[in-house]
């Protein structure tokens, strides 16, 4: 998305306009008012006496609210600045716009104010893939309002537009006659409401009143731990992360008004199993609410049957939920779609980590059935080759996902010479997650479900998996773990960042950790900003290839966690320093991914061209990095603090960290000279 577009959002609803507040969407761009994956406005243009306006400035008041200051004339010279126009727009149940016109002249003025409105009711999938509509459009002119409608069989979506000032309404918009006294003001409030009839969830989810939003944001910020530190950029990044996370929260129809993180603007404002779980893990030391809601909502939608179209199996955690027309007519499988191989073991990982932080045994008992079904899925449904490894192969060959791991683009899994393996594919990090799920599941079984026999069985399976994994995935001559095993059980031997996730999950034998760390921090993977998804020198390496060379902040935050797990504090601090330096270059808002170019080459991190921003797990990355730098680790009823900070951070305090201990403060001082480390590493 172009940078001069203005975006405001609230969970599932967002508006993208140009800098004068107008919307004129083409079929393939993502400007407009979107809610629940449908574009409800594709045209929204303001004119005075038939003329468009020019922006003077745009104030981003909050993530859900913005203010446009406009004047007449479209050139660079403002010939007649006797009028000012202010559009103040906020999202929530569609959007609300306060339109104010100020007359600065000593003479009265009469104006024709027109707002042109239209909607293509495009499904977000249609916008992404430029597809044609199959239904019929209509416009109904009511008493003081205009209803734009779209109908295809029983499917109906509507946009209702109304104004407080008297207006002449036609099928394409509203026209006002504004008579303004000298130095006078004219005002009208415009309300645009989205309609999803016949669906209980729609109205409920839209019920968040605009006036509560400011209050909710303040409460959200108040309840988060307070960060005090010498580094101003870090303070900014922390605040930006909290605010963006608040913006990305949404209440899916199943969550009883509670919220979980949507994946990211503009394409992914919906519940994603994987993204919601990773973001909830990152945010746990700061807020446990996201984790609790994610666990509940994903639990409700857990798979219960075999369905090839949705790649659904009993016990499988869903990948992606969509509400648009193509999903409704089963032209897309997202109702929900289950094609992720990692979300299910990660669900158990999150449940355990959540309990370790919060002590909320009640939820762990409530979700016992779901957690057991998830553990059962790993062995019963996901071992596609019968070799004891979790693998994936889509059954929906038309619209399902080929790669069902977080690196889900078509070319992400390759041999070192660049060839692509066949299916099924057993990527390495999946085995790590499965191992961790079994170990953590065993703890829950023993301590909370009171089933020691099940705990013992899981521990036995975990130990066996770890032993086999360290034998079968280890690329002995180069000392790292292969990216995957192919359908024949051979190593897909490219060197990748997935090695860091293996440290995080604990599946790496102690004796192999040092070699793995050497690769992660070595010149082929570490760019100076962070660890590349694929190592330089691999056949498919490309510094701006989506999953084949870029640096992902989310990926790096989990790698840092893995490094801490194996005792590599300094290396974790170097990754934290690199990613947080990059955040500073992006004004505190980390993109989904940025280029894998060597840091000394570009000086600034190069943003990946179509990256989503804000994106939930990038927003969560600085939070997890704060955890790894401070070495926060729940231990029984206590929180252990073991700081290892880069010198650039200086003094750092994180106050009122919530958890089963109540609230605890953590302090640290930067003692690790990452600059020196980098200079040393750069030498051959």
């Amino acid at each position: 998305m172009s940078e001069d577009l203005v975006k405001i959002l609230d969970g599932h609803t967002f508006v993208v306009s140009d800098s004068n507040g107008d919307i004129e969407a083409s079929p393939t761009d993502s400007t407009g008012l979107f809610s629940f994956d449908t574009r409800f406005l594709s045209k929204w243009v303001l004119t005075l006496n038939g003329e468009r306006l020019s922006p003077l400035s745009v104030d981003d008041l909050q993530y859900f609210e913005t203010r446009f200051f406009l004047v007449q004339g479209t050139g660079t010279v403002y010939v007649d600045a006797k009028l000012s126009v202010i559009r103040r727009r906020s999202v929530g149940a569609g959007f609300h716009e306060e339109l104010t016109i100020l007359n600065h002249d000593e003479k009265p003025v009469e104006l024709e104010v027109r707002v042109v409105a239209g909607s293509d009711f495009a499904d977000l999938f249609e916008v992404k893939d430029a597809l044609k509509k199959k239904g019929k459009y209509s416009a109904r002119i009511g008493k003081g309002d205009l209803l734009l409608e779209y109908e295809r069989e029983t499917f109906r979506r509507g946009t209702l537009i109304s104004a407080t000032a008297p207006a002449k309404i036609d099928g394409d918009g509203l026209t006002f006659t504004a008579s303004i006294e000298p130095h006078g003001i004219w005002r009208t409030d415009l309300q645009v409401s989205t309609e999803l009839p016949g669906w209980g969830g729609g109205k409920a989810a839209q019920g968040r009143a605009r006036k509560n939003m400011q209050h909710r944001l303040e409460r959200w910020l108040d309840e988060a731990p307070e960060l005090q530190c010498d580094s101003e950029p870090l303070r900014d990044t922390y605040r930006r992360s909290l605010v963006d996370l608040a913006a990305l929260r949404f209440s899916p129809p199943v969550a009883g008004g509670h919220s979980l993180p949507a994946a990211g603007l503009p394409w992914f404002m919906t519940m994603f199993g994987r993204d919601s779980i990773f973001t909830s893990l990152q945010a746990l030391p700061f807020t446990a609410e996201l984790a609790a809601t994610t666990l509940r909502a994903l639990g409700e939608w857990q798979g219960t049957r075999l369905d090839d179209f949705r790649d659904e199996d009993p016990g499988r955690i869903s990948h992606e939920m969509r509400y648009g027309e193509m999903t409704a007519f089963e032209e897309r499988p997202h109702s929900p779609y289950y094609g992720a191989a990692d979300a299910t073991p990660l669900y158990v990982v999150l449940l355990d980590e959540y309990e370790r932080w919060t002590g909320d045994r009640k939820l762990v008992r409530e979700l016992e059935h779901e957690a057991r079904a998830a553990l059962n899925w790993i062995d019963e449904y996901a071992d596609l080759q019968g070799n004891g490894y979790l693998s994936y192969e889509r059954r929906n060959e038309k619209t399902g996902l080929e790669n069902q791991c977080w690196k889900d683009s078509w070319d992400s899994i390759s041999y070192r010479d660049g060839r692509l393996p066949g299916f099924p594919r057993a990527t390495c990090e999946l085995q790590g997650y499965a191992y961790d799920a079994k170990v953590r599941g065993a703890r829950l079984a023993r301590e909370i479900w009171k089933d020691p026999a099940f705990a013992q069985e899981l521990e036995k399976q975990a130990a066996d998996l770890k032993r086999r994994f360290n034998r079968d995935f280890w690329v002995a001559e180069d000392e790292y773990f292969a990216l995957a095993l192919d359908a024949e059980g051979n190593q897909v031997d490219a060197l990748s960042s997935n090695n860091g996730h293996l440290l995080w999950s604990g599946i790496v034998e102690k004796s192999k950790a040092r070699a793995v760390v050497r690769h992660l921090m070595g010149p082929r993977l570490f760019s100076g900003w962070g660890v590349r998804t694929l190592a330089e020198g691999a056949g498919r390496y490309n510094p701006i290839g989506y999953h084949v060379g870029t640096v992902w902040p989310f990926d790096n935050s989990f790698i840092a966690w893995g490094l801490r797990r194996y005792g590599y504090k300094e290396e974790a601090a170097r990754i934290a320093a690199g990613i947080l330096d990059a955040a500073e270059c992006f004004d505190g808002r980390l993109p989904e991914a940025f280029g894998g170019y060597e840091r000394t080459l570009t000086k600034y991190p190069v943003q990946y061209p179509t990256a989503c921003s804000p994106q939930a797990w990038s927003t969560g990355a600085p939070l997890l990095l704060l955890r790894t730098m401070l070495g926060l680790e729940p231990h029984g009823e206590h929180l252990v603090v073991d700081p290892a900070l880069p010198t650039s951070i200086g003094h750092l305090e994180l106050l009122d960290i919530p958890g089963r201990w109540g609230r605890i403060d953590a302090f640290g001082r930067g003692r690790i000279d990452v600059e020196r480390k980098r200079r040393t590493a750069a030498r051959p």
Binding site: T154, G200, F309, Y381, R395
Partner: protein, 129 residues
């Protein structure tokens, strides 16, 4: 496998016979299904109490009511159509708490033609047939 025409009756008969459903152990709520069949409306009431099921034909107030054509429900009950997609399409209309339907839809079967995967695919006599 039941023919499509009586898939609805078979579905509710099965629930009634089952008496208890582990997938709904967290649920205590009542569901009513108002199914339009030509000129008349057939009603089923399923009262769930921590997974215990009581099925009747009573016309009583319920926490969640699903309005649909009987033919559509036959297809949901027979695994030929997906309940969530039908609601998104406006072909089935929901009254009350959507959360509850999400839980209830767990009971609908998947398409009969779906392939076996994992252990079941390797062991024809395995658990999931």
């Amino acid at each position: 496998m039941a023919t499509t025409a009586d898939a609805t009756a078979k579905f509710f008969d099965d629930l009634s016979r089952r008496g208890h459903e582990p997938l709904l152990e967290r649920v205590t709520a009542s569901f009513r299904f108002d199914l339009v069949d030509g000129g008349k409306t057939d009603r089923w009431l399923v009262a769930v109490n921590k997974g215990d099921l009581a099925v009747s034909r009573q016309n009583r107030k319920a926490d969640c009511v699903l309005h649909a054509d009987r033919k559509l429900f036959d297809r949901l009950a027979g695994g030929e159509q997906n309940a969530m997609a039908a609601v998104l399409r406006g072909e089935a209309v929901l009254d009350g708490d959507a959360t509850r339907l999400v839980l209830f839809q767990r009971l609908f079967p998947g398409p009969a033609a779906s392939r076996k995967v994992g252990r079941a695919a390797r062991e024809p006599g395995g658990r999931h047939e």
